[in-house]
């Protein structure tokens, strides 16, 4: 007998769970990703997993599919404790996952994708193509897809690729299907087809874990829900016994227990005005003004088009329409170089990939966009470079043995400081911080917030893209919410509650 009842409140349990998680915890250095969470999946039922970005959903999926090992807790399949030591072990136990972006092979045929790793063989040990294609056709029929198994996968659209992924899941006799935001990249029509497929899988008795941000689809297809917040399970039950309001409340929680710096913003004149910025596929009709000394928050779900808009504003991509004014003057930004020259700088979300150059020492990272200021008649002056780097890294309280140290050897928080120092050294007017505290520890977070407040007080205008509600509420003077590439709402800080933010981002009606 289990010493503690972890199971969600079971009202009318029809069948025994196929898969149970009990007391699962998982930590990464500096971050507790999951803390004592439980989950039960029953055959023929769809369980929705709901939570903000960073609530621990992805970590859970990785534990379910054998990519991560939990630090504590147990996984039971049909009541038997199991260890998913590898992805293969999870697959053998009947758990398969369909990811947001399909993990399939574009250059292989549809049939090969479905049977990769367990393809039928002839007696001589050769691939039995005829049988493979026959069985692939049969499985594709089951998921309602009319796809020729011999064509290469790359010729399929994303919706059909999803179907292939699902067919693959069925080919290994999956009993548990994990769908990680499967509708994120689909059109409305494709979403409808996916819903039908989920119904069919349900009818076949599969247990389905459906991860989603979207309330309408959760209520449409799920039977049960589990809500995660900050790595903890905060609620679970049957969807017909709850309401949207209750779920929003669970997701957001009541208290915002982080401390943010006290700010007394004195806003100056208009620094940046964006009018009708649009992109053919990523975002449309973005309008706002940014004042001197202001912190403007951009909130939205992952994939709402915030970063894409910021990249266009910084000149990495080009808008198809729209204009910007900087200090009242019309400005054209066609490349990051022009953006930097106009005083707009961007600290990207993915530091490892887009931010720091890890093989270069700290001081060279800091001076990279300011080399014209540290050189004389075309030649760099190292003393000047060190002086500039020292000035800005000291302001950010960067802890490093020496400015000569390679950035790759610094912690995440310190790498972030190097990237910010690099941009401050260009003396910008507007700094765009994309998820500035993502993936850094709590102490460094507070330091970044403190610093952001200081910058604003000194008259720098800050655009902060963040998916963390406390951060948005704690730091912003004004907040723009984006949804599906458009501005969904704009709020003054005073008018804002966590609930309004979540509702605007998810596209729900305002509560009465």
């Amino acid at each position: 007998m289990a010493p503690k009842d972890y199971s969600p409140r079971a009202a009318a349990d029809t069948a025994a769970p196929v898969l149970e998680l009990r007391g699962i915890s998982k930590s990464f250095p500096g971050v507790k990703a999951l803390s004592d969470v439980a989950l039960e999946l029953r055959p023929g039922e769809v369980t929705a997993l709901i939570g903000e970005n960073g609530a621990g959903k992805s970590t859970l999926v990785k534990i379910l599919t054998g990519i991560y090992q939990p630090d504590e807790g147990e996984i039971r399949v049909d009541g038997e404790p199991m260890r998913f030591a590898t992805a293969t072990a999870a697959a053998d136990a009947g758990v398969t996952a369909i990811h947001q972006e399909t993990v399939l092979f574009d250059e292989l045929s549809v049939g090969e994708n479905i049977f990769l790793g367990h393809a039928p063989h002839t007696r001589l040990g050769l691939m039995d193509w005829a049988r493979m294609n026959r069985e692939a056709t049969a499985i594709l029929d089951r998921v309602g897809a009319r796809i020729d198994p011999t064509i290469p996968l790359r010729e399929l659209g994303i919706a059909n690729k999803h179907l292939v992924a699902i067919a693959r899941a069925l080919s290994v006799e999956a009993r548990v299907v994990v769908m990680d935001e499967p509708t994120a990249a689909l059109s409305q029509k494709e979403i409808e087809e996916l819903y039908e497929l989920v119904e069919r899988l349900k009818a076949e008795g599969k247990a389905i874990l459906f991860i989603s941000h979207k309330f309408d689809e959760v209520f449409r297809i799920a039977d049960r829900y589990t809500v995660f917040r900050d790595g903890e399970m905060v609620g679970a039950g049957r969807l017909d016994e709850t309401s949207e309001d209750r779920l929003v409340e669970l997701m957001v929680g009541r208290s915002v227990d982080q401390i943010f710096p006290q700010r007394h913003p004195v806003l100056g004149g208009e620094v940046l005005k964006v009018v009708g910025y649009s992109h053919p596929t990523e975002f449309a009709d973005i309008n706002f003004t940014l004042r001197k000394g202001e912190i403007l928050g951009f909130y939205g779900l992952v994939g709402a088009g915030r970063s894409e808009f910021m990249q266009a504003l910084f000149g990495v991509t080009r808008p198809s329409k729209g204009a910007i004014r900087i200090d009242g003057k019309v400005a054209v930004i066609r490349s990051p170089t022009e953006a930097i020259a106009q005083g707009i700088v961007y600290v990207p979300e993915d530091r490892g990939k887009q931010g720091a150059i890890t093989a270069l020492p700290i001081f060279q990272n800091v001076t990279l966009p300011s080399l014209d200021r540290t050189s004389r008649s075309g030649f760099l002056r190292m003393a000047e470079e060190f002086r500039l780097a020292r000035e800005y890294t000291q302001r950010l309280d960067l802890r490093a043995a020496s400015l000569d140290q390679d950035v790759g050897n610094l912690s995440g928080g310190n790498q972030q400081k190097v990237v910010i120092a690099k941009w401050l050294a260009t003396k910008p007017k507007v700094i765009i911080l994309d998820e500035p505290t993502k993936g850094i520890d709590v102490g460094s977070k507070a330091a970044v917030h403190e610093f952001m407040a200081e910058l604003a007080a000194e008259g720098l205008s800050v655009i902060m893209v963040s998916s963390e509600i406390p951060e948005i509420l704690g730091m912003s003077d004004r907040v723009i919410v984006m949804r599906e590439g458009r501005m969904a709402a704009e709020y003054d800080r005073a008018d804002l509650t966590p609930e309004t933010l979540v509702r605007a981002a998810a596209g729900l009606e305002e509560a009465a």
Binding site: V316, Q354, A356, I357, T358, L360, L368, D372, K438
Partner: protein, 327 residues
């Protein structure tokens, strides 16, 4: 400063080169004599110059396999001009050689930059094209020493302060590279582009243009070497420097220039070239078959890459750990 140097890859390589020289000296007294070492350096000069050009390209995460073909084509062109019009001054031929090399390098660079074709494919293509053009313009004929003017052949051999001009040119290029790599924005951009192309874009550095410049510089140096090669060896033919592009890449790799881009020093490239140069000069003296030389340079490459891979892997782990936080 000194402590840091002693731990660096360059120090290890320098020690290896010195050890190699001393080893040969124990068998053949006189190998380590200054005059002989100067000869070894002179023999290695062209390799050093090309290795520096290749280094610029590799730093930006590209590779130029066409350098030796570029060298052979410019060499053939200047040799043909000299044979038909001996009156053209050598300095004009050198300028022409550099100019031709620059154009061929720019062609590589444009294809990589504007058409976004992988550099290995581009330069594999131009390697064949440039080599093919030599045959077309020369009809496969050789240009031998007696067809070349005296001045044409004498220039790289002329002695100046005890060293041949060829050696002085190599030293000059090394000096220019120290400045280019260490003291200019372009040099810094090479590292940024190769170290993290995405971040370079976000920093306002044009990745394509930086690579174009690297190819152009490498091409210009290959052109210069075209003249130096045919005048020094006093012969031009279709297969001049055939396979030499691999020696150049080998010198870079042995010198610790990361094939993945963004890591490497001028000193490393020079020492890598010298290491190969010493082997090439020592083995014939020792009466060892030139095929052993190939095996030894091959082994040196693998050892060097294994070294590099180890150095880079430990760095990667640190990054991954912090990346995991993001989950």
């Amino acid at each position: 400063m000194i402590a840091k140097f002693l731990k660096s890859r360059e120090a290890i390589l320098l020690a290896a080169v010195i050890a190699l020289i001393l080893l040969v000296e124990t068998r053949f007294a006189g190998f380590a004599a200054p005059s002989n070492l100067a000869g070894v350096f002179n023999d290695t000069s062209i390799l050093i110059i090309l290795a520096l050009g290749q280094m610029a390209v590799i730093l930006t995460k590209c590779i130029d396999l066409s350098l030796a073909s570029n060298l052979a084509l410019t060499g053939m062109v200047v040799a043909m001009i000299n044979a038909t019009a001996p009156g053209v001054p050598v300095i004009a031929l050198i300028a022409l050689a550099i100019g031709m090399g620059v154009v061929m390098g720019m062609f590589n660079g444009i294809l990589v930059w504007k058409l976004d074709i992988p550099p290995i494919v581009v330069t594999l293509g131009t390697l064949t094209i440039y080599r093919g053009v030599i045959f077309l313009i020369s009809d496969g004929a050789w240009i031998n020493a007696h067809e070349m003017s005296g001045g044409f052949k004498a220039f790289p051999r002329a002695e100046f302060l005890g060293l041949p001009v060829l050696s002085w040119i190599a030293l000059l290029i090394v000096g220019l590279f120290v400045v280019l790599i260490g003291r200019t924005g372009l040099g810094r951009a090479f590292y940024a582009v190769g170290g993290n192309p995405h971040a370079a874009v976000y920093t306002g550095i044009s990745v394509g243009f930086t690579r174009f410049m690297a190819f152009t510089i490498a091409g210009g140096l290959a052109g210069l070497c075209g003249y130096l090669w045919v005048s020094r060896y006093a012969v031009a033919y279709v297969d001049v420097a055939g396979g030499f592009e691999l020696d150049v890449v080998a010198a870079c790799v042995i010198g610790g220039i990361s094939i993945a881009g963004g890591i490497g020093t001028v000193g490393g490239a020079v020492l890598g070239a010298l290491f190969l140069g010493v082997i090439k000069n020592a083995l014939p003296v020792a009466g060892i078959s030139p095929f052993w030389q190939l095996a030894i340079s091959g082994a040196a490459i693998i050892i060097a890459v294994a070294f590099n891979a180890r150095g880079e892997r430990s760095k990667g782990r640190v990054i991954l750990k912090s990346a995991e936080h993001a989950q």
